[in-house]
């Protein structure tokens, strides 16, 4: 973590590099799926400033609870690209042992909680982590990431309410990207802003331009300072836009107009930060170009490395249901391995 308030030059440049790296990795994620090399992908395209801006304003000891679209946060945390691609491939090097669809990664060393798919569950988990941090006297925050759609979930209500009651150090980081799959924000809820939902739980909610790296950074760093000072949670609504489909299974042309997408393309967070940095004289065109090129190479080498690992070993199927397998699980594993060795079961 760095400064509270406006980001320094160093932070801005670091943010830019991470956003560019994220964009490059994200584009390859989608391509790998289109090529049939991975099974599924959830693009973050358009939300880089919100994610990296938030990620960099946090401390390494803070807890991250992602949804499934938080590639920018993972990179801001320092999770190696190869770790992410190992997960996308679901290979034997994957920390998750190939057990989940792409984009559901996690990594304990980075206090980055392994994602699940059900919408909203991480919101109340974050409050629990924060309550435990309070109890242990650790000066850290928990940050659940979620979308406009998730504000309708039961766990949003519970997580927000409990955080208010216990004054838990949580930053509820809401990326309002305008859509929950095909449902526009306006039909998700009638509240004029999503930020003001915080008032129902007795703590502040703020709206911030989610495509403005520095603004996001500032809002999060201030919320963090508040939280560790014992002043309780904050809800941050970062206004942004999902440029691509909801996931590689989605066809957004069925439900939204290309004009709207085009208008948001004008507000591209990477172009915008690049212009700002150039205007400030902290970067020049050539330097920017180099960052873009390097990012692509870095991504390529992570993919190459990840694609080398074989699929997970079949016998791992039975691990981690419990700390120690029950006797029934061991019995199933034995029968299973017999069938694998006889060729009855084939991957």
């Amino acid at each position: 973590m760095s400064e509270v308030g406006d980001p320094s030059k160093e932070t801005m440049l670091r943010g830019f590099r991470l956003m560019v790296l994220g964009r490059a990795a994200d584009e390859r994620g989608t391509n790998l799926q289109r090529q049939g090399r991975i099974g599924f992908y959830v693009p973050m395209n358009g939300q880089e400033a919100a994610q990296v801006g938030c990620g960099l304003a946090l401390d390494a000891q803070d807890w991250i609870l992602p949804a499934y679209r938080e590639l920018g946060v993972a990179l801001a945390r320092g999770i190696p690209l190869k770790t992410l691609f190992d997960q996308f491939f679901g290979n034997s090097a994957d920390l998750l042992k190939g057990r989940q669809m792409p984009c559901h990664y996690g990594y304990r060393d980075y206090r980055y909680i392994t994602a699940s798919s059900p919408i909203g569950t991480q919101i109340v988990l974050a409050t629990g982590i924060a309550a435990a941090s309070l109890y242990k006297g650790e000066k850290v925050v928990s940050v659940p990431f979620f979308g406009d759609g998730a504000t309708s979930s039961s766990d949003f209500h519970a997580g927000m309410n409990f955080a208010g009651v216990y004054k838990a150090p949580v930053i509820f980081f809401l990326q309002n990207n305008g859509w929950a799959i095909s449902l526009p924000r306006e039909k998700q809820t009638r509240s004029p802003t999503l930020a003001e939902k915080a008032e129902a739980y007795g703590f502040p909610g703020v709206q911030v331009d989610g495509n403005d790296f520095a603004a996001v950074y500032k809002a999060v760093s201030q919320a963090r300072a508040r939280a560790v000072a014992g002043e309780g949670p904050t809800l941050i609504e970062a206004l942004t836009f999902r440029m691509g489909p909801h996931s590689t299974s989605d066809d957004p042309t069925r439900y939204r107009k290309s004009e709207v997408v085009a208008s948001w393309r004008e507000k591209d967070p990477i172009d915008r930060l690049q212009s700002e940095l150039i205007a400030k004289g902290w970067l020049d065109e050539a330097g920017a170009e180099k960052i873009h090129e390097e990012a692509k190479l870095e991504v390529q080498s992570a993919i190459d490395a990840a694609e080398k690992s074989p699929p997970p070993d079949p016998s791992t199927l039975f691990d981690d249901v419990f700390k120690e397998p029950t006797s029934l699980l061991e019995e199933q594993r034995r029968e299973f391995l017999e069938m694998v060795s006889q060729g009855v079961l084939r991957p």
Binding site: S154, K187, V321, L329, F336, P347
Partner: protein, 325 residues
């Protein structure tokens, strides 16, 4: 009659019911403008309008609670839960309200709703887009559980579900949404609940399956047929009500029984089937009942093909059961 896919049959059933009865109303996430993430409701928003096809906020308890409320006011709502894996936030509404409403009110307030939901694996969906948790509902008195395996059954059973006055969970085998094809009668042709379907007659061993395991099981039956084993394949169609008579009749005939489902074995629905068979047909059984199921782990991703009962695994199980002592 033309050939349609299973999901087209679902779509047709909804259309027929909506055209026939203005009280039939649809609600769920992404079912309107988008036509459903699997396109089950494709075209219905355009045809019937936003008052009859409601795109809802992201809240399954909201969806199910709304549906029950609408039913109390006399409508016949059909709610979609986008994936069965996401039905759990609505669990309280389903088991505490829908399933118990008629009973707790002495019959005054039935909850006339249908919950449609795609279930099961085989689509590389991992832990949270593959589950098959029918036993959570079969073990809850007061809710019917229906699982079709063919387009004709999908249409006929869904029409029955929509006009049935009890709450019905209608589980759709998404893995065969587009691969199961067949002819479907036009119009409002219903298939009654509680009647299993003999998908293939046989004399050596009875195999019970439902949903996406029916085509797998039929293939496995063909495999063992070549070894001279005549397996009878029974498609249960509705788990609640269960066609116990058909099950018992088949096992009394063959003396051997195999059960196939995707869900984990331990405490799964196959346990009820196995128990029912052994308790009722003990003196006819020539071999132990065999359950071929998913393993007792959460649903995996990379190893999915090893996890789900495959044609080979089912064939091996049928063969062993048919030939054991």
């Amino acid at each position: 009659m033309t050939e349609v896919t299973l999901i087209q049959a679902v779509n047709q059933a909804l259309k027929v019911a909506m055209a026939k009865d203005p009280d039939v109303i649809l609600l769920g996430e992404d079912i309107g403008v988008n036509g459903g993430v699997f396109r089950a409701t494709d075209g219905l928003y355009k045809e019937f309008g936003e008052k009859r096809v409601l795109d809802t906020p992201l809240s399954e308890n909201g969806i199910v609670g709304m549906a029950i409320g609408m039913a109390l006011q006399g409508l016949k709502p059909v709610a979609e839960i986008q994936f069965m894996d996401f039905i759990y936030p609505a669990f309280d509404q389903i088991v505490s309200e829908a399933a118990k409403f008629r009973y707790r009110s002495g019959g005054e307030f039935p909850a006339h709703i249908v919950l449609r939901t795609p279930y099961g694996g085989g689509i590389k969906g991992g832990l949270y887009h593959s589950q098959s948790t029918e036993q959570l509902f079969t073990s809850t008195p007061g809710i019917k559980v229906v699982i079709p395996s063919t387009p004709a059954d999908a249409k006929g059973l869904l029409l029955s579900a929509i006009f049935d006055e009890d709450p019905v969970l209608f589980m759709e085998p998404k893995r065969i949404y587009r691969t199961a094809t067949g002819e479907v009668p036009a119009g409002d042709v219903r298939i009654p609940f509680g009647k299993a379907r003999i998908a293939k007659e046989g004399s050596d061993v009875s195999v019970f399956a439902y949903g996406s395991m029916v085509p797998q099981t039929l293939q496995a039956a063909n495999v063992v047929e070549k070894m001279g084993i005549h397996a009878e394949v029974v498609d249960l169609r509705t788990l609640v009500p269960l066609d116990v008579d058909a099950i018992v009749a088949s096992v009394e005939k063959t003396g051997r029984a195999v059960i196939v489902h995707e869900a984990p074995k331990f405490s799964g629905f196959g346990a009820e089937l196995s128990a029912t068979i052994s308790e009722r047909c003990l003196y006819s059984l020539k071999a132990p009942v065999l359950r071929i199921t998913g393993y007792d782990t959460p649903f995996p991703y990379a190893l999915e093909n090893l996890y789900l009962p495959s044609v080979d695994r089912i064939a091996r199980g049928i063969e062993r059961t048919a030939t054991s002592a």
